[in-house]
């Protein structure tokens, strides 16, 4: 058992740290947050400098963590341009990989994933978007909600129903994944405004009104879309856990810095114990979340994913992010309210929700455990 990161991963951390220091200035972060503006220029630079090295998933993981630690909104914006690409990698054919995945990895195109619907949320199998075969094309009708990169993606991977479910208990059958070009006639986007946090990221509602999609744009086999999406979530949740680590560690950084500058001293001249204990608790939780996340990543990157550990890592890292930002806010008083910590506090909450709510993660953990034990 080796807890050391590889030299390559360490280099990626250093590169991310330097990139964030240079480009994630407080002025840019504050403006992007206030104006809900996607940082197009910074994302372009990040692609040019190949900040995300998709050839090594460990490097991607630690880069996300490090960039988000500096600023969650900008960090996620920079690292989400290939969101969903693992679906191509695992289930796409050679043509699709060449045409859609490679330009995304090369930083030339942006990808989005359309799964969640206005009435659906966690209930993925209950989606209403339909794809009806008409000659050589499918015709898509429906809508998607809370879609990252919604306004800026060139292509979307979209989950739609292609055949009725065999029964109400088997709604997950009959769903398929399609690649949809954002320029397709009948496709429309509404940007969502007024988010609590991660306001630099681009989030939108997608509308499909008789959007024609070539038959060859179906990814993998027809009817297996639900399985593909769940497989993808078991990958993406590890990256969301990395976002949680970044936010929690960012809050810890700020609290430690505060304690050095302004921490109240006890009469013995030491930092007050209340503050010392809070720092220790946050630091311990960050470390525990990191160990869980890296363990989940270790299984996944060896192609032996462990959904239990993956869900544990996502749930715990998200909870740690929310916990850490809250405790730091409470302890830093007006200093927390008037610095970028308040942004971290707002940003953290989304991690409890996206890529599977905390409640869903917990249910997955227990159900999988019981299944393993043959219960």
């Amino acid at each position: 058992m080796d807890f050391e990161l590889s030299d390559e991963a360490k280099e990626a951390i250093g590169k991310a740290k330097e990139f964030a220091r240079t480009h994630f200035t407080e002025e840019v972060a504050e403006r992007s947050d206030r104006e809900e503006q996607f940082p197009t220029d910074i994302v372009a630079i990040s692609k040019k400098e190949k900040i995300l090295d998709f050839s090594n998933p460990w490097k991607v993981l630690v880069t996300i963590e490090e960039l988000v630690r500096r600023d969650p909104g900008l960090g996620i914006s920079v690292t989400i341009s290939a969101f969903g690409s693992e679906i191509f990698m695992l289930f796409g054919n050679d043509e699709q990989k060449e045409k859609y995945m490679n330009p995304v990895f090369a930083g030339q195109k942006t990808l989005g994933l359309g799964v969640t619907e206005p009435g659906g949320g966690s209930d993925v199998a209950n989606i209403k978007t339909e794809a009806r075969l008409d000659g050589d094309t499918y015709i898509l009708n429906g809508g998607k909600m809370f879609i990252s990169n919604g306004q800026i993606a060139d292509y979307f991977l979209v989950l739609a129903r292609t055949s009725p479910p065999p029964s109400s208990e088997k709604k997950h059958r009959g769903l398929s994944v399609f690649v949809v070009d954002a320029k397709s006639p009948g496709f429309a986007v509404n940007k969502l405004h007024g988010k609590l946090g991660v306001r630099a990221t681009n989030t939108a509602e997608l509308i499909f009104n008789n959007v024609r999609v070539p038959k060859e744009n179906i990814v993998g086999e027809e009817g297996k879309g639900f399985y593909y999406i769940m497989t993808f979530f078991n990958i993406s949740r590890i990256y969301v856990a990395a976002q949680g680590l970044g936010i929690a560690h960012g809050a810890l950084d700020r609290l430690v810095e505060y304690s050095k500058k302004y921490g109240e001293m006890s009469e013995t001249g030491e930092l007050n114990e209340n503050l010392q204990l809070a720092i220790a608790e946050i630091a311990t939780r960050v470390e525990a979340a990191r160990n869980l996340t890296y363990k989940a990543a270790s299984y996944l990157f060896k192609f032996t994913p462990n959904p239990i550990i993956t869900s544990m890592s996502k749930y715990y890292a998200a909870d740690t992010a929310v916990f850490s930002t809250r405790r730091a806010m409470e302890l830093m008083s007006l200093h927390g309210l008037t610095t970028d910590l308040e942004r971290f506090f707002r940003d953290a909450k989304i991690l409890d929700i996206w890529e599977g709510t905390t409640e869903v993660e917990k249910l997955i953990i227990t159900r999988m455990m019981l299944k393993e034990e043959g219960a």
Binding site: G121, K195, L196, M329, L337, R346, I353
Partner: protein
């Protein structure tokens, strides 16, 4: 609850439905506007100072009932009301009190000197008959009058001659000014030579009103969650039918109900500092917990301002920072619980 307070509660509910409920996001995000402030004043909501027993102090019961009910819909309006009353209670000049009561002027008390350490909140000194310098964290800096501590330890009312400086980020209560101020004023009054002591007392007297706002927020946000969980479905069931959500919100509502009873018990008598601080401490924690759970129940929609949930999440934390300091309040609370100085090695 006594009949007069039930009538007051009903008045605030009517006020909310007429002026606040359909406007709460705007009242949270944008300056409230003179017209709305005048309406608030016309209700008598800014005139509870000087209405206590023997015409002294503040009618804390009435104020708390008003704050609790305003906070259910618009926490920022409740906080504005608290600030106006807190300010009025500290001054004696009839002209100024009248201008606050009728909503034509506004005032704020800077408690930041108590909330952050020495030398972190700027400096105000007397020079040639003037007050000069600046203060860092002035909540309500868009007010006409500011009460603040001077370096000399005196508590001063600055009537004019100050300008707002760097605007601070606004996690919550975005319609209320929050910035530094720069002062160069000959137009001031010294309210007390023992300023810190007076300010400490004023801060302590906020315990129940602040708890009232926290409780009102908890009631407002939890009601939204309960309503939503009854109509929103997932996996073929209403959200309320799922144990994780149902049990979480039920547990928090139970806590809220117990605190509300305690709150009303205290309002019925003369609460001690310890009881008031118990209430404030628990009410602030509850507001943060219940707003997180309520947002969670709303899922992605809770994260969007249109659903009126996320503002409670922000405001609950902002309230617990602007009118509370963990270190300071817990030292006080521990001392009261142990009946002697506690929490110091």
């Amino acid at each position: 609850m006594e009949e007069e307070y039930e009538i007051l509660e009903s008045t605030v509910k009517d006020f909310n439905s007429k002026y606040v409920d359909n406007n709460s996001l705007k009242l949270e995000n944008e300056a409230m506007g003179k017209e709305f402030v005048k309406i608030l004043a016309d209700q008598g909501f800014f005139s509870m100072a000087g209405q206590g027993e023997d015409g002294k102090g503040t009618d804390v019961k009435a104020l708390s009932v008003v704050l609790e009910n305003l906070a259910k819909s618009a926490p920022a309006v409740a906080v504005k009301t608290l600030m106006m009353n807190s300010f009025s209670a500290a001054v004696k000049e009839k002209e100024i009190i009248d201008s606050i009561s009728n909503g034509s002027k506004s005032g704020t008390v800077t408690f930041s000197d108590l909330l952050v350490g020495k030398d972190q909140n700027g400096s105000l000194r007397m020079e040639g008959g003037k007050v000069k310098g600046g203060k860092e964290f002035v909540f309500g800096s868009d007010s006409n009058f500011v009460i603040t501590l001077l370096d000399s330890g005196e508590l001063a009312l600055i009537k004019s001659g100050f300008t707002t400086g760097k605007k601070h980020k606004k996690l919550g209560f975005r319609s209320i000014g929050f910035s530094s101020i720069t002062v160069d004023s000959a137009d001031f009054l010294i309210l007390s030579k023992e300023g810190r002591k007076v300010l400490e007392r004023m801060y302590e007297e906020l315990s129940i009103p602040v708890a009232a706002i926290a409780l009102g927020m908890s009631e407002g946000v939890s009601q939204k969650a309960l309503d939503y969980a009854k109509v929103r479905t997932a996996f073929g069931h209403y959200l309320k039918d799922f144990q994780p959500l149902a049990f979480d919100i039920a547990s928090l509502v139970a806590e809220m109900d117990i605190l509300k009873r305690y709150f009303h018990d205290l309002l019925g008598g003369t609460p001690s500092d310890k009881e008031a601080l118990f209430l404030k401490h628990k009410a602030l924690v509850l507001a943060k917990d219940i707003s997180r759970t309520s947002l969670q129940i709303h899922g992605g929609y809770g994260y969007l301002e249109d659903f009126g949930i996320e503002k409670f999440y922000r405001d609950a934390m902002a309230l617990s920072v602007l009118f509370h300091n963990e270190e300071k309040d817990m030292e006080k609370l521990a001392g009261l619980v142990f009946d002697s100085r506690a929490g110091f090695v």
